[in-house]
Symmetry: C2
Subunit: 370 residues, 2 copies
């Protein structure tokens, strides 16, 4: 293989695909990036065995071929190269000579035959979403997934698509995050619902390489895998196996007290009250809701804090307590100017949603202290 490639293009491609390299790869070839020349450039591919990322870069191909180069080291090198043309020439001894202006590196290549094949899904259920929308949905849901592997299905997010709506759900037993996007989706029939549980790590890496414009990401799903294409990049991953929790059963439909509050005021108040909550043993913030205002309070041996903010209330007064981090995780991820908190009692979950519409629904379990 012998190619000429612009250092900037090469770096961009490497930055995309090397996200799939595991921190401690199971075998040496998985530390590598697979180069495969095409007519107008090269495919770069990395995989950890579960997640595979491939992208295409433009290049001038002198001699077609395939090779596997050490991924992290190559990326670091290319990041430090000057702007200009990089020559990558693999000789008959399987040594790649990488030249750029006055810099010359030789690297021992690995055998492309050992590199796992990317599994392309062609006959599956199709779903298209704008990249910026899907990226935002991920960012606003992923914090709520479980981190421990004891209930593996909860370490992923449920993507649920009906003819009129796509939903992304994450939950860990203490809180739930749900983002909705309304659009027309073509499914086999109107009663069909696509459901796929995508691993959290895969979504997290996707959110970092999706673009912030409306160009589409095209998903293909079968029962066990997903394949996604966006721009010149594609991703393949296993799905998490098993039945996801019936999250709709958990969402309260009714409420006894509803509070409208300014998002920034609430966020700042939680931010400060969290300081003292963290000093305390339970990381607790108490909410005292009256017809005039809401007081957030926290305490520790060192002292206590109280924050008072204006609210609009419907329904009765309420005293309820939350884990400070669970509350702050939710409010931080809301970008609306105003939000709504709905309560039934101080031992049942609080729903946090927009003051109008239902673009998102968050749910936080309270802590019993009263």
């Amino acid at each position: 293989m012998y190619i000429h490639v612009n250092s900037h293009d090469l770096l961009e491609g490497l930055n995309y695909v090397t996200r799939a390299i595991a921190p401690r790869p199971a075998k040496p070839v998985l530390e590598g990036v697979l180069f495969e020349t095409t007519e107008t450039g090269a495919f770069l591919t990395c995989t950890d065995g579960t997640l595979t990322i491939r992208t295409e870069i433009e290049a001038q191909v002198e001699k077609a071929g395939q090779t596997v180069l050490p991924g992290k080291l190559l990326t670091e090198l290319v990041r430090k190269l000057p702007q200009g043309v990089v020559d990558i020439n693999v000789n008959e001894k399987n040594i790649a000579i990488i030249k750029c202006i006055s810099s010359r590196t030789s690297l021992t290549c690995m055998a492309p035959i050992d590199f796992p094949l990317m599994q392309v899904l062609e006959n599956g259920q199709l779903v298209n979403l704008p990249q910026n929308i899907f990226r935002e949905m991920i960012q606003k849901v992923i914090f709520a997934i479980a981190t421990d592997e004891s209930r593996q299905i909860l370490t992923g997010c449920l993507l649920e698509v009906t003819p009129g709506e796509a939903r992304l759900v994450g939950l860990d037993g203490f809180r739930l995050a749900l983002q909705r996007y309304s659009d027309t989706f073509v499914l086999p029939d109107e009663t069909t619902k696509l459901q796929a549980v995508i691993p959290g790590k895969v979504l997290s890496e996707m959110s970092k390489i999706l673009s912030d414009d409306e160009s589409p990401i095209e998903f293909t799903f079968d029962k066990t895998r997903l394949f996604a294409k966006f721009g010149k990049t594609c991703i393949s991953s296993v799905l998490l196996a098993g039945e996801y929790i019936n999250y709709k059963q958990i969402l309260p439909t009714d409420w006894k007290t509803r509070v409208k509050v300014n998002r920034n005021e609430l966020n700042d108040a939680i931010d400060r009250a969290s300081l003292m909550a963290r000093e305390g043993k339970n990381n607790l913030i108490k909410l005292h809701i009256t017809s005039n205002d809401m007081t957030l309070s926290s305490n520790a041996e060192l002292g206590d804090m109280q924050e008072t903010i204006a609210i609009q209330i419907e329904g009765g007064e309420m005293d309820i307590a939350f884990n400070a981090r669970y509350l702050s995780d939710v409010i931080r991820n809301i970008s609306d100017e105003e939000l709504c908190m709905r309560f039934n009692s101080n031992v049942s979950p609080c729903v946090i949603c927009p003051s109008e519409g239902e673009k998102f629904t968050y749910l936080v379990l309270p802590v019993r202290v009263f």
Copy 2:
């Protein structure tokens, strides 16, 4: 004590003084910041027992007094407060009530009587330096000091002042960094030389709070302590005891090969060659200097790298090897466009200095590989 203070002023003051709080204070009161009201404001003071930092902030004093508040927690709180006036009111139960708009915090105060007194030096040797100059001297020398405590004197920098020059020196046995600043200094007589070994930690914290203008920092030294004033802030610290190494004996005065090289080209080449050096066992970069150019090379099991840069040479050719980090630490800290490397042999130290003048001198020991 009861004061009103602007939240921005309070935060700035706290950011200065809390640098003196130890990561794990030896007694609870050393986690605190001492407030002492003055006619127009308050002194804030923190100390770790060795280093003390005090600054003055403007405040409206309703009731004079002293108190000690938890330093880190207060700083975090004030950082999160909105712009505005903060009231700090210590009641008869020794509880401070801190109010700002709709935020109210109560904190248990510690007793000011337990707080160590700041030792002000009044009769000592005086030295004045511009803050920006001293800050730059610290930043360009401190990397070379020893980090292990086995030779404690080398964990500090030597400040040496003669009637015409101030010098700051750091060394760890493998490399030496020396910065010079020419000015007139008033010393008791022309043969006098002021020498003080300032702890590295003290210099490092100073470099973060010195301003980047020419306003002076005024030092007072006695045999065991330093006291420094700049703006509204003062610092007191012990000096390191013992005899500093006679660094002048180490500096070669002669050379057999001298090379002039562009700083950025050399820095980039070292940066890239360091990648492969790090993969190798010895973190080595070899220099091959000929009458035309200099080739830097490094190698590992994975492969090797070569960088070639243009030089101007006086004297003979040279092959010499260095620890990549020692070389890179020095070149990163040089801001001149061009620099000079002087060699005697491949087993004797290399001197790195400006191509004109002697504002700085660095010295790096080579590694024997030839």
